[in-house]
């Protein structure tokens, strides 16, 4: 490749890829440097591991890390598990398939905070769910569903919101498998579950990995759902980061949490993608 050609390619990439890399790179650079004592808003800049020490010594940090990882994994895996049967169901056209598909994708277009407040109206102490349970006689008094300690409500919202994304990715992948290939598997003795495990899953693993990674990263960095419907006894990483910045103006420690969150997103999503590929390819890479 000539120098002129190489320069042409670089010049063509700069407006798109260059901009993205510059934006992400600068944010990443500032966050990392701030976590090591640079870009201080007050005081002098100096390299220091003190902020990492302080954050690592905090129990709240580790709880937030575990909690965000838990929410991210369950949200990603839950969305994909629910999306697969729906994608297979919608694979063949039937009367009303378009309507069903549209309804399933609708949550994607509802802003997260709006969805969270709608959910609160349902599960609140005097919300629709409690009133219904009392009306049918299941309970005598309202139950506290809101901000539950195990984040069930938050996970429900995360999956409800992310299911359409997984569905969009998986539907395309599942539809690309020909009827003949699935018929052949059936003809060779594969039942419904084996057809999924041995044919559909391996052939759609890339779409599934994409869904897992995107949902994992989004859910790991969740702030809006957590502060609205999440448990009050634990903070998510994003919430903890904002807490450090807002409550004590500890920007450097907030940067440590931010860098940790990025690391969690990277390592967690790659691990999830690798494990799912290994499992769905029948123990082979």
């Amino acid at each position: 490749m000539t120098l002129r050609r190489s320069l042409t390619i670089v010049a063509l990439l700069i407006p798109g890829l260059g901009l993205i890399l510059a934006m992400i790179g600068s944010v990443f650079y500032v966050a990392v440097m701030q976590s090591f004592g640079f870009f201080n808003l007050t005081g002098e800049d100096a390299f220091s591991l003190e902020h990492w020490h302080d954050v690592f010594d905090s129990r709240a940090y580790w709880r937030a890390l575990r909690y965000s990882a838990y929410v991210a994994v369950i949200s990603a895996v839950g969305s994909v598990i629910l999306a697969y049967p729906l994608a297979i169901w919608l694979r063949r056209p039937f009367r009303g398939a378009g309507l069903v598909s549209g309804m399933l994708k609708a949550p994607y277009f509802v802003p997260g905070l709006v969805a969270a407040f709608l959910f609160l109206n349902v599960v609140a102490y005097h919300g629709v769910l409690n009133q219904f349970l009392m009306w049918i006689g299941v309970t005598d008094a309202p139950i506290r569903f809101q901000n539950d300690r195990n984040a069930i409500g938050l996970l429900f919202l995360q999956i409800w919101k992310n299911l359409p994304l997984a569905l969009i990715l998986l539907t395309g992948a599942v539809q690309s498998i020909s009827d003949d290939v699935l018929d052949a598997a059936r003809d060779l003795g594969a039942g419904r579950f084996d057809r999924f495990r041995k044919v559909i899953a391996p052939l759609t693993v890339s779409a599934m990995q994409a869904a897992l990674v995107i949902i994992f990263i989004g859910a790991a960095g969740d702030f809006a759902f957590q502060v609205t419907v999440g448990p009050t006894n634990v903070q998510s990483m994003a919430q903890y980061m904002v807490f450090l910045k807002d409550s004590f103006g500890r920007w450097n420690q907030a940067a440590v949490v931010g860098v940790s969150l990025m690391a969690l997103a990277l390592v967690g999503s790659l691990t999830l993608a690798a494990v799912s590929r290994f499992v769905l390819k029948g123990g082979r890479w």
Binding site: D180, V181, D187, L188, G189, A190, G191, L203, K281
Partner: protein, 351 residues
Amino acid sequence: MAHDVPALQAHDIGKVFEDGFAALTGIDLSIHEGEFVTLLGPSGCGKTTLLKTFAGFHVPTSGRLDLGGRDITTAPPERRDMAMCFQSYALFPHLSVGDNIDFGPRQNRVPREQRLARLEKLLQQVDLEAHRDKLPNKLSGGQQQRVALARALAMRPSVVLFDEPLSNLDAKLRDQVRREIRNLQKEIGFTAIYVTHDQAEALSMSDRVVVMRGGRIDQIGAPEEVYQNPLTAFVADFIGAANILPFERGANGSVRTPLGDLDVSGRPPEDATYLVWRPEDAEPCTEGTPGALSAEVTERAYQGAYTELHVRVGTSPEQRLHLPHAATPGDGRITFRLPPERLRFVTGEIV
């Protein structure tokens, strides 16, 4: 071949789709063990629907299907002792050649030693030993079809179903794979049901040919029988080239046709609607020979093994003649006769 035991029996099979389209009507068919039967017909005649009904991908709306004496009418495909070779090959793209072939036996929990032995033998039989670890997309069309065949045979099924397996191959490869399939079928002795719209394929491979039209069977017979003695005008027209003429019953064992009065070897059946003769039935002769027809040659086409002539006898419709090159006339006229024993009567209408 053991053609005595019926491997598959269809009793009055009918299939009406949800939109009301009747794809199959009154299919009665008995296929014997070790037999190679071809379902032949034009597009939309129901041959693939019938094959998929045998396979279990369609459940018939009426009738019964027996496999080895067992009623399998509503049994799902995975519970039938059959295997199918698809037109698109339908190989699993994520599995190697070896794993594709091993899919069925593994699915059916065949012991590992048996599976491996079966795999080795099949790879050898279809000449794909060197390609065992390759993915299907690294193989040619012919090789992929051989993998599909080996994958079906690995199941050791009672019946192997072929859905136009050669239609994606070029002419030369098609001929080669056709012979390979037939040789393997003879060698292993499996029962084969083969769908094609290619009459040459059907005639060259089959023990029996089932000619279908509009969801019904028009004729079942050995290739020679179907070709030489078509029962209907459709079969005569669809299989090979045929000259099909309307006729009226004449005196003294002759019939009146657009070519003139022709002597026939027997009385036309009551329900006969047309008189049929094949282009190669015409015998060149000299003027004055009893039954000689003098015709004007309107078109001449060299066909390699023979020459095809399009001729008119007086004002008759154009007729086709296949003659050896040496017997082809030099000028624009030809005299030929039609031996009475070569004239057949058929029923039904020309489609």
